[in-house]
């Protein structure tokens, strides 16, 4: 069992509907790379407003999967943007990337166990 997300809470949230879960994981696969690109671009450009917007959107997206670590990483980045603390934002961006990757991997692994 991965600590990237809460499996039982997630299955409760989707009401045990694996097909629906698969559909939403596909959406995460499609949309999260774009948001991560926007986060990186905002961080490189020191654009606090854009950083807040993209980090906020990613936070909302990963929260659907009961993914506390990825949600926390995205929230920290959003807060840094709101407080305009962009000088040391790079490690936070890396953390968000890592947690999102870990989440998607864990979700696919979990899905395989449910569809096999």
């Amino acid at each position: 069992m991965s600590d990237a997300f809460d499996e039982s809470e997630l299955m409760d949230r989707v009401d045990g509907d694996v097909v629906f879960l698969e559909e939403t994981i596909a959406m995460l696969d499609e949309d999260s790379p774009t948001l991560l690109d926007q986060i990186r671009a905002a961080a490189n450009a020191a654009d606090a407003v854009a950083l807040v917007r993209s980090a906020h959107a990613l936070k909302g997206m990963v929260a659907n999967f009961c993914a506390e670590p990825a949600e926390t990483a995205a929230r920290e980045l959003e807060i840094m943007g709101r407080e305009d603390r962009l000088s040391d934002v790079a490690p936070a961006v890396v953390r968000v990337e890592d947690e999102t990757a870990r989440l998607t991997e864990a979700l696919h692994q979990f899905l395989r166990t449910k569809t096999e």
Binding site: H56, A57, G60, M61
Partner: protein, 321 residues
């Protein structure tokens, strides 16, 4: 219920739509506030669930738009907000949201909030129905009151006229003339309306009501009036005016303007007349200003043509004070 979802994050949007459709609602999903607004322009929704942070048009702007443009009944608004965004929540409720739902949403929480919304919508509809019924009743009663008032006005005026039978269809003529003048006037006075015209033309009949206070010996005298008799005769608008002002003070809906008629139409009888303010220190609120009439004229023989023209002019002036 017909539900509109406005949410730019598509997993949440899809999850909401799936859940609401599972519960039997008719759902339309929009990817931001601007798209939601387009749906609202062409469709009506019982309930809108909207995110706060959205591109193009955010939740606040959408909520404000709905509250400004709600025409087909009440729309219940649920705002989606992150757990840590209390300031957004306060701003959303201030903008007109009815309730909020934390993201990611909990199914049970969504269900109870929808039920709360349904109850409010049903109450709002019941209230609107009651208000429509009440409005219809008030309109019918008001029309009934107007008809009754007009009947009383005309009855009183005819009663007064019956004491002076040499004037033919005098009251009907005065009402018709007044209506013509009033319709001319409203073309130039934006504050005046059809109600004013109707009130004025109807109550014009009251100008003769003061004749009830004129002794028969004067009112019905076939020959020329003496100076004293003329002074008595010329008091009849004063009597009528005072009666109307007293009625106004008692809350009876005679327009004060009616009193002015007595002043303005009296010249038809060949005399001039002025009104003093209601708080005049003199005993009567209404004072006749007697202008000598051609000697030898009588109520039954005077020419009204030139006097009528003058009265029109005075009438127009009198409406301005």
């Amino acid at each position: 219920m017909r539900v509109l979802i406005a949410e730019d994050e598509r997993i949440t949007r899809r999850a909401l739509q799936t859940q609401l459709e599972d519960w039997g609602h008719d759902v339309v999903a929009a990817e931001d506030g601007a798209v939601a607004r387009e749906h609202l322009r062409t469709n009506s929704f019982d309930l809108v669930v909207t995110d706060w942070d959205m591109p193009r048009m955010d939740g606040r702007a959408l909520i404000e738009y709905i509250r400004r443009n709600s025409q087909s009944g009440y729309t219940y608004l649920i705002m989606l907000t992150g757990r840590s965004e209390k300031s957004d929540l306060v701003a959303g409720m201030e903008a007109g949201a009815d309730d909020f739902l934390a993201k990611p949403f909990d199914r049970d929480e969504l269900r109870v909030r929808l039920h709360a919304g349904e109850r409010i919508i049903q109450l709002e509809r019941a209230l609107a129905e009651i208000n429509r019924d009440l409005e219809a009743q008030v309109t019918a009663r008001s029309a009934e009151l107007v008809r009754s008032r007009e009947a009383v006005i005309f009855g009183l005026a005819k009663l007064a006229e019956s004491r002076d039978d040499d004037t033919g269809k005098h009251l009907e003529r005065i009402c018709a003339l007044t209506e013509i003048l009033a319709r001319e006037l409203i073309k130039h006075e934006p504050d005046l309306d059809e109600h004013w015209v109707r009130t004025l033309s109807t109550t014009a009949a009251l100008h003769d009501i003061g004749k009830v206070g004129t002794p028969d010996a004067v009112l019905l005298k076939p020959g020329p009036l003496t100076d004293e008799e003329r002074r008595i005769m010329q008091k009849h608008p004063c009597i009528g005016g005072d009666a109307l002002l007293a009625s106004n003070a008692a809350g009876t809906p005679w327009p004060v303007t009616s009193s002015k008629y007595i002043a303005t139409l009296w010249p038809l009888r060949g005399s001039t007349f002025r009104m003093s303010p209601p708080n005049s220190s003199q005993g009567s609120k209404c004072q006749a200003n007697v202008a000598p009439r051609a000697s030898g004229s009588s109520p039954g023989s005077r020419s009204r043509c030139t006097a009528a023209a003058a009265s029109r002019s005075r009438f127009m002036r009198s409406l301005a004070f």
